[in-house]
Amino acid sequence: MSNQKCIAMLLAGGQGSRLKDLTNNNAKPGVMFGGKYRIIDFSLSNCFHSNIYTVGVLTQYKPLLLNRYIGTGSSWALDKLDQGVYILPPYMDKEGGNWYKNTADAVYQNIEFIDMYDPEYVLILSGDHIYKMDYSKMLDFTEEKNADLTVSVMEVEWEEATRFGITNVDQDMRIIKFDEKPEKPKNNMASMGVYIFKWEVLKEILVRDASDKSSEHDFGKNIIPTLIAEGKSIYSYLFDGYWKDVGTIDSYYKANMDLLKSDSALDLASKVMRVYSNNRNRQPHYVGVDAEISNSLVCDGCLIEGKVSNSILSYEVTIGKNAVVRDSILFSKVVIEDGAIVEKVIVGENVTIAKDTVNGSVDSNEILVIA
């Protein structure tokens, strides 16, 4: 096993129940995004572009589809010798087995995996973020500061700041205080949940935290505050691109709709930091004689004979004659039968919307989920 400077551990989380029926059969990072992508594509593509070729994916909820989707990571060019993407479920050893209790515990239980690579740094990622980020720049910053831990932060709206972990820094960007979801935030620099730890520092605190019965074994609540309290050298790294947490139906819907804006900060067409995915081999989509499509994303294999606007269509969607789809997200193999109307709806995989039915409304404040 070759030694590697930095490897990534991706917290693929539990069921992601805030995404409702979208995670019925699939772990959250495996949920479709932007028509052809899955949420995890963004983090894995970032890793490739950042020259980080070893990624452990920590998951214990319905990992099967995600496992099949990821394979050895060849879709993200991560299938190098002695490197690649590894799904890391809980396992048994001689002492028995434990399910992952929380984010820090999941990493703790895979210390052996990380030690196989003997890295200097470990990058901790989250499985439900949509962004393009070159982690190698953050790693350079970490080395420059000789930091034990670097927390990636970005500017958020002041009213949003109460929902995040807020970092307070000195002139050198060293974090002097970390407020988890403060009522009165002192600034609007929010942690993105992207961390680079020195592995020796992380390993030591994980071992200590594991035996601490009062701990919830959470990075944000336990590990980071403890390290700050101990006076470790912890820095804040400012990221200023597009970033969105898609852990709720609302944020998931908004982030998808952002792709339709002509000035979207997340440019999927760009060759720079291109987002890779495990492509499906389907024919080009066909647009019928009476179809009308505007301001939409359409994937291969679709067959469109009705009207589509402000919507995202994944692979092999069928839109019947006189059907109308507005402001909606259709997962793969959705069928909208002739004359049906679908407005502001997220339709899950394989669902058929019956002929001439009306589903959702553009005027509704709620996004309807049909799965």
């Binding site: 999927l268 987002v275 492509n279 081999n281 080009p284 989509h285 179809a291 009308e292």
Partner: protein, 372 residues
């Protein structure tokens, strides 16, 4: 199916594809929005359970090697050496037309000597035939007729065959006569579509003795030995087009917009595989108007498109009109330009306010990398 070996032949000297084959081998001419010609023959073989395939290449092997890789995208395994890219095109004689050039086979002696004992038949297909054909039908027929060779033909073939057109006369499923007919074809003629099944021993025997025969064209040899060989003829029912001219290329492209043909070729359970690319979904903008068209991923459409095939990463700008066209990868049609009855090869850039109009009979061909 471990008792069949597939061979996809190179067909350079029966093609008249002009600019389209100037910088690439005929195998890799783009078609149908995201495919290359060879995808059809190769996918047909894979979908018929053939997993030992030799592809005869040409001097211009780079695009072919790049496209096929180790064959993973066609479900062929690198580990078990399912796919071999063979030498080819070293023995083209100017002015001589061969349908199935055996010199290409002889140049790959090592491939043929390594073939497994359990192999009983070869299936030979041209690299430039557009069809979605279950080859097991022809193989079953071959078995049933206990034939040495089974030639696949199309009754009432609508396409054009350059020069050495092969007409088969059959009786009870057996080929009684092979006629070369350069131009005069009866409407109900049975035209050979560069697809055949041949017993291993027969082919190896022919290869051994090819120096003593007058020709290196397998079809010549079959023609001259029709009495000695049991040659069956299998009718192909579905759509088939041999791409050997700009006209046939354009016609076939337009055929794909016919929903019946499109369904048969591209929506079948028997998928046509091709090399995947990491493109974003096709982007339609506020004023886009698209009718009766096949559109690939990575495209960005702001203007109007009608009866056309738009390849990956092409851009149709605001106010542009594209009608009856094949627009290949990464082409750009500038604002308010109009392009009708044209084939644009890869990377063509049409500026703003240009008008390019061809005819259905003679579509304009704009060569690769052109800037207009």
């Amino acid at each position: 199916m471990r008792n069949v070996v597939g061979i996809i032949i190179n067909s350079p000297n029966q093609s008249n594809l002009g600019e389209l084959v100037n910088h690439r081998s005929i195998h890799t001419v783009p078609i149908g929005g995201k495919y290359r010609l060879i995808d059809f023959a190769l996918s047909n073989m894979v979908n018929s359970g053939i997993n030992n395939i030799g592809v005869i290449g040409s001097y211009l092997y780079r695009s072919l090697v790049d496209h096929l890789g180790s064959g993973e995208e066609w479900n062929l395994s690198a580990k078990s050496n399912d796919l071999a890219i063979l030498h080819g095109g070293r023995n083209v004689k100017i002015g001589e037309i061969t349908r199935i050039n055996l010199q290409d086979f002889i140049d790959n002696e090592a491939f043929f000597t390594k073939i497994n004992k359990e192999v009983e038949n070869f299936v030979i297909c041209g690299c430039n035939i557009i069809y979605n054909f279950d080859l097991t039908e022809a193989m079953d027929f071959h078995q049933k007729k206990d034939a040495d060779i089974t030639m696949v033909f199309k009754r009432d073939y609508q396409g054009q065959i350059l020069n050495k057109e092969v007409i088969l006369n059959t009786e009870c499923g057996m080929v009684k006569e092979i006629v070369y007919s350069a131009d005069k074809r009866k409407t109900d003629s049975n035209v050979f579509v560069d697809t055949l099944v041949i017993r291993k021993e027969i082919l190896l025997d022919i290869l051994q003795n090819v120096k003593m025969t007058g020709s290196i064209d397998l079809i010549d040899i079959i023609k001259d030995n029709l009495n000695a060989l049991k040659v069956a003829g299998y009718y192909l029912n579905g759509y088939v087009k041999i791409i050997n001219s700009i006209k046939s290329y354009f016609d076939c492209s337009m055929d794909m917009l016919n929903m019946e043909i499109q369904k048969e070729l591209l929506h079948s359970e028997r998928k046509i595989y091709t090399k995947a690319k990491d493109n974003h979904p096709a982007k339609y903008n506020l004023n886009s108007e698209v009718k009766n068209s096949l559109v690939a991923s990575g495209t960005n459409i702001k203007g109007q498109v009608e009866n056309s095939i738009i390849f990956r990463e092409a851009k149709i700008e605001e106010g542009a009109k594209v009608k009856n066209c094949v627009i290949m990868q990464q082409c750009i049609i500038g604002e308010n330009s109009m392009v009708v009855n044209a084939v644009l090869d890869k990377y063509v850039k049409i500026g703003n306010n240009k008008i390019l109009v061809g005819t259905v009979k003679e579509p304009l061909i704009i060569k690769k990398n052109s800037v207009i």
